[in-house]
Point group: C2
Chain length 258, copies 2
């Protein structure tokens, strides 16, 4: 048996998420169906991050064990030929036998896109949280920076979650203004100006990124000062943080391994 | 009666184009239906450019005459509330009584997006012509620059077109590499690197931009040297130019008025 590492991008809009479900289209389900056809036997894939319904990926990673004798390039092309255009395999690589997409991961990076344009661009409306209002970006940037470190993120976990420890390490947390105007750079003006929040860490609680984004938006609205975020890290409850931001603005950007 | 100037963005993916058709959804049809409801009487709109089926707009302009007593801001909000999210009104302005979106236009700017990524990004697959190959961008840029000026563009007009003169003036024609990587700038990595071809001019023949793009791609593939494009401007025929590039990579970016 060989172990493969797959790197994937997908548009989560019409999907029930990464994980196989009784109903609806999941990335795992579609991928396993395609790989099982290629293998001629049932195949199970492991994903690095179980993205929720509506969440997108620019660089999700999956691992799979198969007997396939084909070169990785052949598998790559055969796989994309079977998958819908909304799910793309970016790379297929041979991996060590003990490689596991989730357990071997060292850190993950997520991005959340916000648009404060008066009118939502038709081209990115499924990929950004549209907030047609004035946000205090500097205050949001201050609050974002305060999250870097090892803290108890219990206030940013969805209620009802049961995990051993709610302490997590955030390695990067910053909010950047992307200027993509009609005649400017970026995606040729498709998106208009965006706010992109990037967060990287060794592990994330359920809905943690979206709860952080909801809280940063509250800071941007002047509901709380940036210091409120710091206070929450000292052991706040879910009700003291902001609402969970919508799924469709969130992207799993990359997964790093040792 | 008042005259209004509407500025619009739309995703042409599911549309039959700008112009009202017996079947299918057109921008003009949807817009006239919404405006007629607001006016309480049938209303006709004029568009600056009759974009074909599948062609998008970042800044189409339309003119309309209405008796509406509402401030432009109210009309703007009421209109967007009635239109689908794929068609957005970016601005509503009062215009002089003789303003006509098409006849008053001084110049139009189009953009065509190409992606040479090995795998097409799921997020821009409806907005770019995906050519997973190596193109000679410098040769394409040379050819693009040669189109600026007043020339006979007959070789770049769809066959069967009947117009008085095929002489047109191109004011701008350039190809720019947009670098939008996963952790880079632009639209937060949604598109991957793109080639954006921008062309502005006082008038365009039918399918002219798409025929030019098809020809530039042939130059990029080494089928012809950049000088071939110059030769075509001296009175070439449609068969001597490249194929018509697909509609879904084309955007009407802006319309300028005196």
């Amino acid at each position: 048996m060989r172990t493969f590492k797959l790197t994937l991008a997908y548009d989560g809009s019409g999907l029930v998420g990464w994980q196989r479900q009784p109903e609806g289209t999941s990335v795992q389900g579609v991928l396993e169906a395609a790989l099982s056809r290629l293998e001629g036997a049932p195949v199970t894939v492991q994903g690095a991050g179980r993205t929720d319904a509506g969440v997108h990926a620019l660089g999700q990673v999956a691992s799979v064990r198969m007997a396939s004798p084909h070169p990785t390039g052949t598998l790559h092309r055969a796989l994309n030929a079977q998958l819908p255009g909304t799910i793309r395999v970016l790379a297929v690589d041979d991996a060590p036998p003990d490689f596991h997409a989730r357990f071997s991961a060292r850190s993950k990076t997520y991005r959340y896109l916000l648009s404060t344009a008066a009118v939502a661009s038709p081209f990115v409306r499924s990929y950004v949280w549209h907030l047609p209002e004035r946000l205090d970006v500097e205050a949001m940037q201050q609050a974002a920076a305060a999250l870097v470190g090892t803290y108890d993120f219990a206030a940013f976990q969805s209620t009802g979650s049961v995990v051993g420890s709610t302490v997590r390490t955030v390695e990067r947390s910053d909010l950047v203004v992307h200027d993509d105007t009609a005649m400017g750079r970026g995606t040729g003006g498709l998106s208009g100006p965006l706010l992109a929040y990037d967060i990287a860490g060794t592990g994330f609680l359920r809905h943690m990124v979206r709860a952080i984004v909801g809280t940063l938006v509250d800071v941007g609205r002047g509901r709380w000062p940036p210091a409120h975020v710091v206070a929450l890290l000292g052991g706040g409850t879910r009700g003291q943080a902001g609402a969970t931001a919508p799924a469709h603005g969130l992207f799993l950007v990359r997964v790093d391994y040792h």
